[in-house]
């Protein structure tokens, strides 16, 4: 019975490969033949994986897929991390997708919301990255995976460069269950700097007419960091990092955390914290970490992905970053996510995607301003969407739910609420109100209640952790602009053009 089933899959794969005929020369496909080839290797009912997270996208293959008609491609069960490109939306608009399992909608959030309203977005579930990768091995194993790599050699070996990202997590489960792996590459060369994916696991390769989409997602211009964010960063440094002596951490990506990174060599140094906190990081190579790295704060960084412009810097700082034998940066999203969940003392960020049932005692710190741009309050009593899971997936910064229970601490410019130490839901709500400032939620706080929580250390105002708000100015940052980061890096950081004004 079991052997018969496996034989079916294997036979099915060879049938598909047989249909390709002259559309490929060995593993190599010319870009103009890609649409036809896709028609022949994908079957209705397939689980199809399209590589694409919030940084790296197999965009050429996605565009080719979106150019097909419903008659050629339908009843697809799409699995992918991030719905990022207009081409992804097209697949739904054309009615090709029977079900989708994904993590995050990112820049297409509004378009996805429209699809949901039009009932053209058949969601299976919204996952964390690791849930999805894990299911690729169990019940969501792709029949066909469309992936992206930097380079291929003549045998079909792949080099993934700095943005290894999720490629291994997709290729392995697919290749080892008779699925088809089809890679777009920026160029085909005689010799690769290093082999990240062996040719053995790759069925087709196309040299795409344009380089893969790569977002400079983690670059935060220090020039845009506000005094309020600096105040929050100071409060977090003293009230969380210093208090709990946080050694290893998973930093979110935002101006708040960028402010913390840029305060380490200045404010952190003054507090005598160097060597005591923040030694091990699970985070992408953030340009704003350069001053802390250069000042000797950071021992080790492991990353889920690369960052545009950081290639020469990360290569030159191989003691801190993972580099391959070729000397260039290496990342791995699945392993990074694992490390981020199991190997760190603390998660901190504005929008956190958190697996429930965390092992051991971890700090989970939500770092938010009480108001977002345009005076939208960050704190709400209840999410106002019909489908909170979709709403949460669509929002860059998810509103803080007063009833949420994953978070141990909430840090705002008003102070810290140690919600993890609260004894009841009512107490938890009071603690959140105490730091919710002048939002509608915050206005409901009662003075006596706040004072009692302060006495017990559950609520801490800036002055309670030794922070003077008048000190919170941009002059405290190790550098105030991108050019300063380049100078800190000794010219090794090459910021993307949109950040260069010199």
């Amino acid at each position: 019975m079991g052997t018969a089933e496996i034989a079916v899959r294997r036979r099915n794969k060879s049938e598909r490969l047989g249909r390709v005929g002259r559309l490929a020369q060995g593993k190599f496909v010319s870009s103009k033949n890609v649409p036809d080839l896709l028609k022949r290797i994908i079957e209705p009912g397939d689980i199809l994986c399209l590589e694409g997270d919030n940084q790296k996208q197999a965009d050429f293959l996605a565009n080719q897929l979106a150019s097909l008609d419903r008659k050629d491609l339908h009843d697809i069960h799409l699995v992918m991390s991030c719905i990022t490109l207009p081409a992804h939306i097209q697949l739904f608009k054309k009615g090709m997708i029977r079900q989708v399992d994904f993590c995050y909608a990112g820049p297409q959030g509004t378009a996805v919301a429209d699809l949901v309203k039009a009932k053209k977005f058949p969601v299976g579930a919204i996952h964390t990255y690791n849930e999805l990768y894990a299911r690729y091995y169990i019940d969501l194993t792709p029949r066909v995976a469309l992936i992206a790599a930097a380079k291929a050699d003549r045998k079909g070996n792949l080099f993934l460069a700095a943005n290894t990202e999720e490629t291994p997590a997709i290729v392995e489960p697919t290749a080892f269950s008779d699925g088809i792996v089809f890679a777009q590459v920026n160029e085909i060369v005689d010799k690769l700097p290093r082999i990240d994916i062996p040719a053995d696991q790759v069925d087709f390769v196309v040299e795409a007419p344009y380089p893969m989409h790569l977002q400079a997602l983690f670059t935060r211009d220090p020039a845009a960091i506000t005094d309020v964010q600096i105040l929050m960063a100071m409060v977090a440094l003293r009230g969380i990092y210093e208090k709990y002596e946080v050694q290893s951490l998973n930093h979110g990506v935002g101006f708040n955390t960028a402010a913390i990174e840029l305060l380490l060599p200045t404010y952190g140094e003054r507090l005598g914290l160097k060597g005591k906190i923040c030694k091990y990081w699970m985070v992408n190579p953030l340009p704003t970490m350069i001053p802390a790295i250069e000042s000797g704060w950071i021992e080790r960084v492991f990353s889920v992905g690369g960052e545009v412009g950081m290639e020469r810097y990360t290569a030159a700082r191989s003691d801190v970053f993972s580099t391959g034998r070729d000397g260039s940066f290496h990342s791995n999203r699945a392993m990074g996510q694992l490390a981020g969940h199991y190997a760190v003392d603390m998660f901190i960020g504005a929008s956190l995607q958190i697996d429930v049932n965390l092992p051991g005692r971890k700090l989970v710190v939500q770092l938010v301003e009480t108001f977002q741009a345009g005076r939208v309050p960050t704190f709400v009593e209840e999410l106002d969407a019909q489908d909170p899971s979709i709403k949460k997936a669509l929002h860059g910064v998810a509103p803080v739910m007063i009833y949420g229970d994953d978070v141990t601490h909430i840090v705002t410019e008003e102070g810290i609420a140690n919600v993890g130490a609260c004894r009841s839901i009512a107490e938890r709500q009071a603690a959140i109100r105490a730091v919710a400032g002048y939002t509608p939620v915050g206005l409901k706080r009662k003075k006596r209640e706040t004072e009692e929580l302060r006495r017990r250390g559950i609520v801490q105002l800036p002055e309670d952790v030794g922070v003077r708000p008048s000190e919170a100015t941009r002059s405290l940052l190790a550098t105030q602009d991108i050019k300063g980061l380049v100078r800190w890096s000794q010219g090794l950081y090459d910021p993307p053009a949109q950040f260069v004004d010199w």
């Binding site: 003054r270 002059s475 940052l477 550098t479 105030q480 949109q498």
Partner: protein
Amino acid sequence: MTGTSLFHEQTARQRIAAVVDAGSFVELLPPPERLTSPYLAQLGIPVSFDDGIVIGKAKIGGKKLYIAAQVGQFVGGAVGEIHGAKLTGLFKAAARDRVPCALVIESGGVRLHEGSAGEIAITETMRAIFECRAKKVPTIAVIGSDIGAYGGIGILSTCCDFRVMTEHGRLGISGPIVIEKWMGKKAYDSSNRALVWKTSGGKTKYLLGDADALVHDDAGAVREAIGKLLAKSSPVTLKNAKARQAALAKRLKRFGKTENPDDVWKGMGVRDIAAASLASGPEFVALAKTGRK
């Protein structure tokens, strides 16, 4: 250990306080006078107590000067009727008292919401600036912010004896977005910030001789530069006008068809464009000097 306050990030009041001798600034028509724009009020736009310009008397190194600073955050530092009248009055006071006058610029030019009133005010201020220059009273424009000196204020800045710039400062008339609209994105991509700064930024202006000093993005450096210029003047004479005519004609002949600012830099003796781009103001000045040798 800590970083520094960058001049281009400071507010008008912070700039004045940091540039002049401590405690020496006496503001004229200060905020409690509440001289706010009736135009903006009518249009339902927030007003400001100083109408976007802080003016007064002060000292640098013990020497008296009049000083004004525009508030770039407030309607782009643009000149309305009150703003302009304060500025005209200050330069006229400088001419009357024979006391140097410095203007810290951060303005896109005329405040559109007030129509032609601001336009006339700018030309009245120009006349007042030349009153100062007739009496050899130094007038100094400081351009050190991203908003820069544009439109009528860009022209006004060139009427002063001297221009002190930082690499953040920009000097021009039409801004990049206007030019892009007019000429197309191919001719001028306004989102290409490096090109924008090489077109109108302090470094290029210094190389061409339109900025007299290029200093650190720091109030102390600006203070020092103003201090050095307080005893100097650039007389408005026929001889100087003829020399300038020849220089500007030569510039146009030499670079009039040069598309790439880097080629202008090279033509002016900058050898390593990448290093010069990354250099601070004073470093750039040094690089340009060695290049010319």
